[in-house]
Amino acid sequence: MLMAGTSSSEFIPHHLQHLRYDVVAGEWAHATDGIVNFHLINVDTMVMGLLMGLLFFTLFYSAARKATAGVPGKFQAFIEIVVEFIDNRVKEVFHGDRRFLAPLALTIFCWVVLMNAMDLLPIDVPGMVAGAAGAEHFRVLPTADINTTFAMSLTVLVLVLFFAVKAKGLGGFGHELVTAPFGAHPALWIPNFALNVVELLAKPVSLAMRLFGNMYAGELVFMLIALLGFAATGSFASGGVGSGIAFLFGQVAMALAWGGFHIIIILLQGFIFMVLTVVYISMGQEGH
């Protein structure tokens, strides 16, 4: 948690620190050990991700349980608008049985949007609440954690492979891996395979990096805007009331502007992740 008197140079690194637990050692991890370390888990990401997942499930399940074909209430109507919106988007891209793909798209859209929306919480409030509970750090935005975005995009890759194999059979899929796109000549097998691997891997990487980059950058901009508050404090301390008020006004105005703009990004990134997932699975089924 951010204490009074923290300098602006400590503010941003502090806010980019995860609350980590070392599962193997059984203790809170203070140092960031390595680029890959499967002993550690980001507790803040897990807590917020699961909370948003629970929120999604609670909202939609309570609507689904009471859903009637009669006149819907306002809540049910809202949920149905979301469901029908998703169903129509999936219908546009994918021409087949939507019984699994449509709920998958719904889950992606709603979960990502809910997690992204955490970026709109006032930047210091979640840290204060978690700090009161004894946590050293707390990053409230799960989609600004590369683990979340890769977890989703790699799951999507597995689903793409699963549906491709299901549609073409293992032999058909393997055949396509080595013969498309250049041709079936044995000399072309290796280039074909290499290109297909790159194509397959590019999908989860682009999915994950796009969402992560957008949310990480958005979060960072909010932090930079918050730095104006430090400037205001500094001005007031040195007797510059006018410049202090200007900094304060600038912070509020920019936070409002960026917040408004960010609402669009929150929805758009959820939408893009969902549509691209459907497109990838659809492409994988149709083949070259």
Binding site: I41, M46, L50, A64, R65, V83, I146, N147
Partner: protein, 160 residues
């Protein structure tokens, strides 16, 4: 930035959410939406059918009214004709009755005339006898001179 156990944790959470959404959320919601869409489509079709039925009924009613108008006109026409006929018939009957009455009156007058003539004749005969007896100062035998007197009376009546 670090790849760690969170990757697996979030992937597991993601898979569980997909499963829940697939099994418990999507089917009932989509079922409700589709059932309602079908209901609305049926309702609209029924409304269209009702509209068409109403149009038919209106046309039918119009045809019935038109037919009734025609029938009523025919009835009025017939009634008029029948009334005329009845008037003509009544006129004929009245004429015939009048003629019959006149004829019977005439015959009655003739009979009466004849009867009165007879009476008058007898009365004149009596008067003649009375006058004659007065003149002759003697009783005339009515019976003996009846024929004579009758002739006299006849002449008197004829002379008048």
């Amino acid at each position: 930035m670090q790849i760690n156990l969170t990757l697996l944790g979030q992937a597991l959470a993601f898979l569980i959410l997909i499963g829940l959404s697939w099994k418990f959320i999507w089917p009932p919601l989509l079922n409700a939406i589709e059932t309602r869409q079908k209901k609305i489509a049926d309702g609209l079709a029924a409304a269209d059918r009702g509209q068409a039925d109403l149009e038919d009924a209106k046309n039918q009613a119009l045809a019935i009214v038109r037919e009734a108008h025609g029938k009523a006109a025919a009835v009025v026409d017939q009634a008029g004709r029948r009334a005329n006929e009845m008037v003509e018939e009544a006129k004929g009957t009245a004429n015939a009755e009048g003629a019959r009455l006149i004829a019977s009156a005439r015959s009655e007058v003739a009979t009466e005339t004849a009867r009165v003539r007879g009476e008058l004749r007898a009365e004149v005969a009596k008067l003649a006898i009375a006058g004659a007896s007065q003149l002759l100062k003697r009783e005339i035998d009515a019976k003996a001179h009846a024929a004579l007197l009758d002739e006299l009376a006849q002449q008197i009546v004829v002379a008048r």
